[in-house]
Amino acid sequence: GAGVSQSPSNKVTEKGKDVELRCDPISGHTALYWYRQSLGQGLEFLIYFQGNSAPDKSGLPSDRFSAERTGGSVSTLTIQRTQQEDSAVYLCASSSWSSYNEQFFGPGTRLTVL
């Protein structure tokens, strides 16, 4: 497809379970970003990949969160032992990382932790 895709679109899970969210960036985009949108916190940046490397993981909310990117393309965001406060929409964006670094967003994954 032409845009950023994310799966699943919705995920309902029980507290304590692990979840994996997937992002497929625009073809050729080397930079990939994860964000979270929640009512209380607005839109917040989580982590950035340039190629397969994430130089700074300090934006991840806790050590239950991890992310990886393989082959310079698809990325997964994993949340272990989910808590109710993890409920949010998780958004992925990609950019071509040139002097024109416009980010394009996917439709998001709505995560609900019961």
Binding site: L91, Y100, Q103
Partner: protein, 112 residues
């Protein structure tokens, strides 16, 4: 980190009216983008405008980087313009790896 403030937080207008949304930011930026979040939550790119002026149909935007603000103009509003408008910036100090910092948005309602 860089701070982003948007105003007004809410705006209700009649169809056909014009509006101006403002974004103030606290430091120099490499990137400034305006987005429209539609009712399904999708962030739609409106402008990539770290400086200067751009126009796209009924929408235009101006960023005055030296004074650290950006304006989004919507003319002849339509009901489909309703939604939340976000300004987001990437500070120049972070080397691009800090992602975008978003404002809290302006919630625009266009009444028929």
């Amino acid at each position: 980190g860089i701070q982003v403030e948007q105003s007004p937080p809410d705006l209700i207008l009649q169809e056909g009216a014009n509006s101006t949304l403002r974004c103030n930011f606290s430091d120099s930026v490499n990137n400034l983008q305006w987005f429209h979040q539609n009712p399904w939550g999708q962030l739609i790119n409106l402008f990539y405008i770290p400086s200067g002026t751009k126009q796209n149909g009924r929408l235009s935007a101006t960023t005055v980087a030296t004074e650290r603000y950006s304006l989004l103009y919507i003319s002849s509003s339509q009901t489909t313009d309703s939604g939340v408008y976000f300004c987001a910036v990437e500070g120049s100090a972070g080397g691009g790896a800090d992602g975008l910092t978003f404002g809290k948005g302006t919630h625009l309602i266009i009444q028929p």
